[in-house]
């Protein structure tokens, strides 16, 4: 009796080819990693395990895992509780995934992270896609970073987007985007400011 027959016997109802594929994939997918040492050292065990899994999922999806770990460590340093830390990590995971979707698989980690920050500050996926199209094959990290800084500095979304879009349309160099940043005088946040939109994955 062949293995093929054996598979057919043990997994009734599943096409043999799919069953074979599942077995092969099980050998390819990495086993669950041990807890990330920095998380294990500073977070409760259960939370550290959950964040490690989120980071592993990010890695598998081609998203940078380090920002997720850093977000958890930031929450721990600032005395946040487990629920808030996990919510912050999951929100970042979602924004990273949306940024990846908008910017494509060729975008580097820095660009993905800048995109995620822009999304957190209220930018839309469409804006990220538009900016990427305008830039073509040119680097996107600086334009996205400037866009994020303008939003962080309190520039209204419409004005910030218009400024960045104009430079991008003219085929501007990174230095020209940097000049946009230099024009903005940063302001301290006002407690009355609305909270940035929180998006779940």
């Amino acid at each position: 009796m062949t293995d093929h027959v054996g598979v057919r016997r043990t997994l009734p109802g599943i096409p043999p080819v799919l069953a074979l594929l599942t077995i092969l994939l099980a050998g390819v997918v990495p086993p669950v990693r041990a807890q990330e040492p920095r998380l294990a050292a500073r977070l409760p065990d259960a939370l550290a395990l959950r964040i490690t899994r989120v980071a592993d999922s990010a890695r598998t999806l081609g998203l940078p895992p380090e920002p997720l770990i850093q977000k958890a460590l930031e929450g721990e340093s600032k005395g946040a509780d487990s629920i808030r830390i996990e919510a912050a990590v999951m929100a970042l995971f979602g924004n990273l995934a949306r940024a990846r979707e908008a910017l494509g698989i060729r975008a580097g980690d820095e660009v993905i992270l800048a995109g995620a920050q822009a999304l957190r500050l209220g930018a839309s996926v469409t804006q990220l896609q538009d900016l990427q199209q305008l830039r073509g094959n040119r680097p996107l990290a600086v334009p996205l970073g400037v866009f994020t800084d303008l939003l962080a500095a309190g520039v209204p979304m419409e004005s910030a987007w218009q400024s960045v879009q104009d430079v991008a349309r003219r085929g501007g160099e990174d230095r020209q985007f940097e000049r946009l940043r230099e024009r903005v005088s940063p302001r301290p946040p006002d407690p009355a400011d609305p909270q940035p939109p929180q998006r779940q994955p």
Partner: protein
């Protein structure tokens, strides 16, 4: 006048003879090089080696000039030496030292006191030692680009000392890549008039002449401006000024260019004509140097401070590109005794910044390239964004600053 400028003007002083002076000068130079370094982060040191022609060291065709600065929380010591040779014409050795202590009374006001001295030994001219001392009150709003200093002290004049008072105001501003500084200074010296005495007791009609000479108070007024700029590995400055005095007015100028070839080795070209140093009584003169500069820490803290970036609320954040790559971070926090930082590059663990001179605190290692969320706190207080940086709310009820490093 900055310590560095003062010391360099000191290279052109008059001299007195004496083997002991030679030994003292040599000892001073050795001391400059051998002084123990308690913490590399608090020490600036560089050595210029090349060709020079400075004041009465005119004609010197080889010179080696070490310099160091050692700064604590309330004091600083800076030293400067120079060995010059003109071959068969002889050698010259000069050492100068300046020590300043200060007590910050408020974030904008400080009391300071200092001493500056120099020892020279020249085989082709007489030797000389000289010193000056002062106590001063300094008001400065670094974030507002203004400083006012009032001081009284003793200045070296010929073989004795005379009273000195000085009022100095400085304004500066950043215009894109260029920093412009305007200086105004008035110095009054109570110089002795030899052979003129006064009665010991004016009521004594048969008054006996006093041996104390009469004093003539002379005002020296300096007006000048400096333009500085740095871009990439190059930094340069041009200074022009004019001194008005009863004994004659004169202009002074100075130009300097420094190109960092590596993070610690640079090529220095400087030249100009300095005014006489009123504190040390040393004559000014023309100088010109082409030298390689080897530095313990790359660009000096003074250069970094001048390239100021963000400023707000009496505290400042300074990000400076290092010539060899990387970005250094420093925070001006007048009145603070401890400044800590945490960010993604510290795994969000607090790291204490190293205290520097006059309220500056510096991160010991350069920032990794990229955009970083950063928080700082002062004397164990609440975590806040770095002063003047773009900010955004974090997810934990606070605010985080955004710092970009290249």
């Amino acid at each position: 006048m900055s310590p560095l400028l003062r010391l360099e003007h000191g290279t052109a002083g008059a001299t007195q003879a004496g083997d002991s002076a030679t030994a003292a000068g040599l000892a001073a130079a050795v001391l400059l090089l051998a002084v123990p370094i308690p913490a590399a982060g608090q020490v600036e040191m560089h050595l210029d080696a090349g060709m020079g022609d400075a004041g009465e060291l005119r004609g010197a065709n080889v010179s080696v000039a070490p310099a160091f600065g050692w700064t604590g929380r309330w004091w600083s010591v800076t030293g400067n030496g120079r060995y010059a040779s003109r071959g068969a014409g002889g050698d010259a050795l000069m050492g100068a030292l300046e020590a300043i202590g200060w007590k910050r009374l408020t974030p904008l006001l400080a009391l300071d006191a200092g001493w500056v001295g120099q020892q020279r030994s020249l085989s082709w001219a007489p030797d000389k030692s000289g010193w000056g001392a002062f106590v001063g009150l300094k008001a400065e709003g670094i974030q507002r680009g203004a400083r006012l200093e009032l001081l009284r002290g003793q200045a070296q004049r010929n073989s004795g000392h005379v009273p000195l008072s000085r009022t100095e105001g400085t304004l500066w501003t950043q215009l894109g890549l260029i920093q412009l500084e305007i200086l105004g200074r008035q110095t009054t010296l109570g110089e002795a008039i030899p052979g003129v005495g006064r009665p010991r007791d004016s009521t004594n009609l048969g008054g006996i002449p006093d041996s104390t000479p009469a004093r003539q108070f002379t005002r020296y007024t300096d007006l000048g401006g400096t333009v500085r700029s740095s871009r990439g590995a190059f930094s340069g400055s041009v200074a022009l000024g004019h001194r008005f005095s009863p004994s004659g007015s004169g202009s002074w100028w100075r130009a300097e260019g420094l190109l960092w070839l590596t993070s610690r080795l640079g090529l220095l070209v400087q030249g100009g004509r300095g005014p006489p140093d009123l504190m040390l009584g040393a004559g000014g003169g023309r100088f010109f140097t082409v030298a390689f500069r080897a530095s313990l820490r790359g660009p000096s803290s003074a250069v970094r401070r001048q390239s100021s970036g963000f400023m707000a609320e009496g505290r400042s954040l300074l990000l400076t590109r290092q010539p060899g790559g990387g970005t250094s971070l420093a925070i001006l926090a007048p009145g603070a005794t401890r400044v800590e930082l945490m960010a993604d590059f510290t795994d969000w663990l607090p790291v204490a910044l190293v205290p520097r001179e006059e309220g500056w605190f510096e991160l010991e290692s350069p920032l990794p390239p990229g955009t970083h969320p950063v928080n700082v706190r002062y004397d164990g207080g609440a975590w806040t964004p770095p002063p003047g940086s773009p900010t955004m709310r974090d997810e934990f009820g606070g605010v985080v600053g955004v710092v970009r490093a290249e």
